[in-house]
């Protein structure tokens, strides 16, 4: 394991190892804050030198991976932020194929570099991750 830093806290010394994260997002954008927090936390994780394997969208979370939406000028562009986040940091973005079907979303409607896969791929990521953070369906 790669040691990233040594921090001192309450007179104790800690070795900070590189930790591998996976994110799961299950709520739709602009209604709940899950996607926003995922981006905030994701940036902080990468800044500290840890790794994110990828982001998996489940349930109505799949709407978060949709491109080609029209926002008013005062609104944050979440699909663009998400696109920049995964592209700039070389990570994968998967949308659950079952929920793509249930919502009628087509693969070509997903943002750049996103693709649809089954839950098997999520379990593969989980097995390769040290930590999995799940942003639930909201409400």
């Amino acid at each position: 394991m790669q040691i990233l830093a040594i921090t001192i806290y309450s007179k104790k010394i800690y070795f900070v190892n590189m930790v591998v994260f996976t994110f799961v997002v299950c709520a739709e954008p602009y209604k709940f804050e899950a996607l926003d927090t995922m981006l905030n936390l994701g940036q902080a994780i990468l800044k500290k030198g840890h790794q994110i394997l990828g982001i998996y969208f489940y349930g109505s979370g799949v709407y978060s991976a949709k491109r080609d939406i029209k926002l008013s000028s005062s609104m944050r562009d979440l699909p663009k932020r998400l696109e920049n986040f995964i592209e700039g940091n070389n990570m994968e973005l998967f949308a659950c194929s079952t929920w793509m079907n249930f919502t009628g979303l087509k693969p070509e409607q997903l943002i750049e570099n996103a693709s649809q896969v089954g839950l098997g791929d999520l379990s593969k990521w989980m097995a390769e991750s040290d930590r999995v953070i799940v942003f639930g369906p909201g409400g």
Binding site: V24, C26, Y58, G59, T98, G118, L119, G120, L122, S123, K124, M126, A127, E128, S129, D130, R131, V132, V134, G136, P137, G139
Partner: protein, 122 residues
Amino acid sequence: MVKSVIILCEDSPIGKNSAIEAIRMGAGIMAVGDLEECKIIFMGDSVYFLSKYFNPEKVNMDVPSNIFRMMELSDLDVYVLDSALEIAGIKQSDLVEFDNVKVASNKEISRFILEADITYRY
């Protein structure tokens, strides 16, 4: 490296799709063989899902037989919090009869969470 997962349910199974999706998700991630164990824990209002009198057809919603089949066919362990059953007024004899559905105490569930690699609420 995650090997064992716990999914928590708290919400009413008719008002929201959490119960069904927790099982679908649990069955899905267990299907491939990368993980060793997945437990689903029902507490709060979600416990109505495991009553044998649960009957979504009364409001023209889907019968969960497919979801129960998924639950049975996969290696999911489903636990329901005893005190939540009591609050809901569901007796153990009122529970659906599946081998992998078991009643558990708060003590047991607390231990399950400590033992699992990750836990999340759906």
